[in-house]
Amino acid sequence: MRSRAGWTSSRTTRHLIFPPVDQALGPMLEVDGLRTSFRTPRGVVRAVDGVSLGLDRGRTLGIVGETGSGKTMLARSIMGLLPAGGRDRLGVERSGTVRFAGHDLTGLPPAQLRQVWGTQIAMVFQDPMTALNPVVRVGRQITESLRLRMGMGRSDAKETALALLSSVGIADPGRHLRSYPHELSGGMRQRVMIAIAIACGPRLLLADEPTTGLDVTIQAQILDLLADLQRERSMAMVLVTHDLGVVAGRADETAVMYAGRIVEQAATAELFAHPLMPYSQALLAAIPRLADAAGTRPKPIPGRPPDLASLAPGCRFAPRCPYARERCREADPPLVEAGSGHRFACWYPLSLEDADTPASDLGDSQGEA
C-alpha cells in the first residue's frame, strides 16, 4: 500500500487527509481484470467477468446493457459495495484491481474504504425510495457525511446542506431539509440522492440508473444537473443505464456490456455511428426512435441473454448473433482495439466485414501492444 499517511485520518477532526488527487498523474479510475462472482446453488455466477477500463478526470463513461448484463454489479464492484452472502448466495468473490487516482482500492480494509466513500468516490443509487432512510429527515441524511467526513459543526453542515439542496434545484430548501423522503416526489428524492452523493465533493461519481423511473421532463433536468455539477467540480462520472438515449447525449465514451463483459467501447458518437460488435448494432436497432416515421417497427434481438451460471464456450452473443460462424461458437473473442480507442470483442466485426478480414489478425497485432 502506498503512502500510508495519506489514508490516515486525523483523530480530532475525523477529516480525511487524502493525497492531493488533482496532482496525481494518470487516469482518475483504472479498472483492470475486475471479476465479481457469486457462488450459488446453481453454480458460480460470474456477474462481472474480467472488465478493464479507464476514466480521466472530468470525463463521463456511459455503461449500457440489458438487465443482468452486470452493469450495476460493475459499478458496485468498483465502489467496493458488494452484497454479503445471503440466503441463496453462498459467497461473493472479487478479484482484479481498481485503482483510483493511482491508489489500489481493492486491498483496503473496510475502515479505510469508508473514508474514500463519499469524499472521493460517491454513488447515486437507482431507487431513491429504498436508498434513502425513510425515518430520517432529509437534512440529517445530507449532513451526516459532512459532519462525519468533513468534520463540520452542526451549523456549518446545515448551511452546506441548504446550499446543496439549492444547487440541485430544490425550491425552498429550508423546508425540505425537515421533510421525510416520503413527502417528496420521485424527482425530488433523486435530487436529494444526488445532493448526498456530491456533499463531500467526490472526484468520481458512480450514477447507477439515476433517472430510471422518472418522467422524461424530470430526467432531462436531472441529467442537466449532473452535467453542470460535473463541469463545476471537474468530477469524473460513470453513468450506468439501460437507456441508449441517455448516454447518447451525456457520455464522452460508451461501453456496451453483455453477460458480464464489455463487448464494445468507443467514443459515444463513434459507437453509435459505427458499431463493430453485432450486439451493439442489434441494441441500437431495437429502440424505437422519435426520428422514425410513425408505425416503424423496432427490430427485436432474438433469444435471451445466456445463463451466467452455465456459459457455453465461444462468444457469449453467438447464439443470438445473425453473423455467428463456427469460430464464434468455439473460441471467446478477446477485447481488442481498432485504433482511436475503439475496443470490441468480436471475431467478425461489422464494418470490417466487407474487407473479409478476420478481426483476429488486427486484434493480435494491436491487442498485445
Binding site: A273, A286, A294, T296
Partner: protein, 366 residues
C-alpha cells in the same frame, strides 16, 4: 387480474355451444359497419374524500375508430392509466360516459356490463404481478373461457395452447410452468394471450412494455402489431415513452394533469405539435442519435444554455398537485407562453387542422 377476467361465477355461456367466438355485447348492436367503436364523453374520475379529492381525470372526451391504435401519453400522474381503467370500467367513472359500440357502459346492469367487458380487455404494466403466481400458465390463459363456460375443458385447453403458440410461448414446456418461472417478457406474452382469449374488440394496454428491456420491448411491440393485424382489434396503447408510442400508434393523445391537451395523427403530432406541453415533452426525450439536431437538451447545453430554450426551460417547475390543479389551463404554471387569459379561462379543445385537436389559447405556430 381485474379487467382481463370478469370476477365472480359464470352464469351464461357466451357464444355458440361448440365454439368459441363471442357475440357482440349486450343489446343487439352489430359491430363492423359503424366506424366508431369507442366514444368517451366528459369522463371524470376522482378519488378520495371531499377534502382531499384527487382529480385524476377531468372532463376527457375522444373517439376511437374500429381497428385503429390510439396512443395515450403523459407524465406520471397525468391520468392516462386511470383513463384506460375507466374505459374498461375497472375503475367506474365518477361522471361522464363511455360508449362502447354505441352502448353506454355506465348504464348497464352488472351482468350486462360483465358480458360487455369480454369485448374490452386489458394488458397491465407489471407482467409478473398481473398473473396469479399459483396457477400454471396454460390454466391462466384458459381461465377466461372457463369463466364463461365456453366449450369443453379439452376444447378450452386446445384453444389456450393455440393462443400461447400465437404469442410465441411453447404450450407444452412453458405452459405448465408458473409465472415466477418465466422472464418478464414471457409473462407479458402470457398476459397478452390471456387478454385475447375472449377475442376482444378493444385491447387496453397500460404501459405494456415499460418494465421490459429494449430487446424484449421490441419483441412485444412487434407481437402486438402482428396480433392486431391477425385479429383486427382496436387498441388503446398507454405509455410514457414517446418513441414507443410513436412506433405503434395511428393517432396519439397527450394528457396533462387529467386533461387532454392534444390529439392528432402520430406523424403530425411529433412533427408539428401545437400544444407547448407536447413540444416540451418531445424535446425532453433524449435522442439515441448523438449527432442529431438541436431537439435534444444536450445540443442546447453545448451552445451554452441550460435546457432547450424557453419551452423545456419552463418545465423546470414541478408538476402541480392533482389535489389542487391550477385554474384555467392546467399547464400554465410550467408554460413559457402563459398569459393572464390562461389563468382565467380553461382553453377548450379545438380542431385547428384536419384531425388535429388542441386545447390551448395560444397554440404554437408552424
Amino acid at each position: 387480474m381485474e379487467g382481463s377476467q370478469p370476477a365472480g361465477t359464470p352464469n351464461q355461456p357466451v357464444g355458440t355451444p361448440t365454439g368459441i367466438r363471442n357475440q357482440p355485447a349486450g343489446t343487439g348492436t352489430e359491430g363492423g359497419n359503424g366506424k366508431e367503436i369507442l366514444r368517451v364523453e366528459h369522463l371524470v374520475v376522482e378519488y378520495g374524500p371531499r377534502r382531499r379529492r384527487v382529480h385524476a381525470v377531468s372532463d376527457v372526451s375522444f373517439l376511437m375508430a374500429e381497428g385503429e391504435t390510439l396512443g395515450l401519453v403523459g407524465e406520471s400522474g397525468s391520468g392516462k392509466s386511470t383513463t384506460g381503467r375507466a374505459i374498461a370500467h375497472v375503475q367506474p367513472p365518477t361522471s361522464g360516459h363511455v360508449y362502447f359500440d354505441g352502448i353506454d357502459l355506465g348504464g348497464l346492469s352488472t351482468g350486462r356490463l360483465r358480458r360487455a367487458r369480454t369485448q374490452i380487455q386489458m394488458v397491465f404494466q407489471d407482467p409478473i404481478s398481473s398473473l396469479n403466481p399459483r396457477r400454471r400458465v396454460r390454466d391462466i390463459v384458459a381461465e377466461p373461457l372457463a369463466i364463461w363456460n365456453t366449450g369443453t375443458a379439452a376444447q378450452r385447453a386446445q384453444r389456450a395452447a393455440a393462443m400461447l403458440e400465437a404469442v410465441g410461448i411453447d404450450p407444452v414446456t412453458v405452459g405448465q410452468r408458473r409465472p415466477q418461472q418465466l422472464s418478464g417478457g414471457q409473462c407479458q406474452r402470457v398476459s397478452i394471450a390471456r387478454a385475447l382469449m375472449l377475442e376482444p374488440r378493444l385491447l387496453v394496454c397500460d404501459e405494456p412494455v415499460s418494465a421490459l428491456d429494449v430487446s424484449v420491448q421490441a419483441q412485444i411491440l412487434n407481437l402486438l402489431a402482428d396480433l392486431k393485424e391477425q385479429h383486427g382489434f382496436t387498441m388503446l396503447f398507454i405509455a410514457h415513452d414517446l418513441a414507443v408510442v410513436k412506433s405503434i400508434s395511428d393517432r396519439v393523445a397527450v394528457m396533462y394533469l387529467g386533461k387532454l391537451c392534444e390529439l392528432a395523427p402520430a406523424d403530425t403530432l411529433y412533427d408539428a405539435p401545437l400544444h407547448p406541453y407536447t413540444a416540451a415533452l418531445i424535446s425532453s426525450v433524449p435522442s439515441p442519435d448523438p449527432e442529431r439536431g438541436p431537439r435534444t437538451p444536450l445540443a442546447g447545453r453545448t451552445a451554452g444554455m441550460a435546457g432547450t430554450g424557453p419551452v423545456a426551460a419552463a418545465l423546470a417547475n414541478e408538476v402541480p398537485s392533482p389535489l389542487h390543479p391550477p385554474s384555467g389551463c392546467r399547464f400554465r404554471t410550467r408554460c413559457a407562453y402563459a398569459a393572464t387569459l390562461c389563468a382565467r379561462e380553461e382553453p377548450p379543445m379545438r380542431q385547428l387542422a384536419p384531425d388535429h385537436f388542441v386545447a390551448c389559447h395560444f397554440p404554437l405556430a408552424h
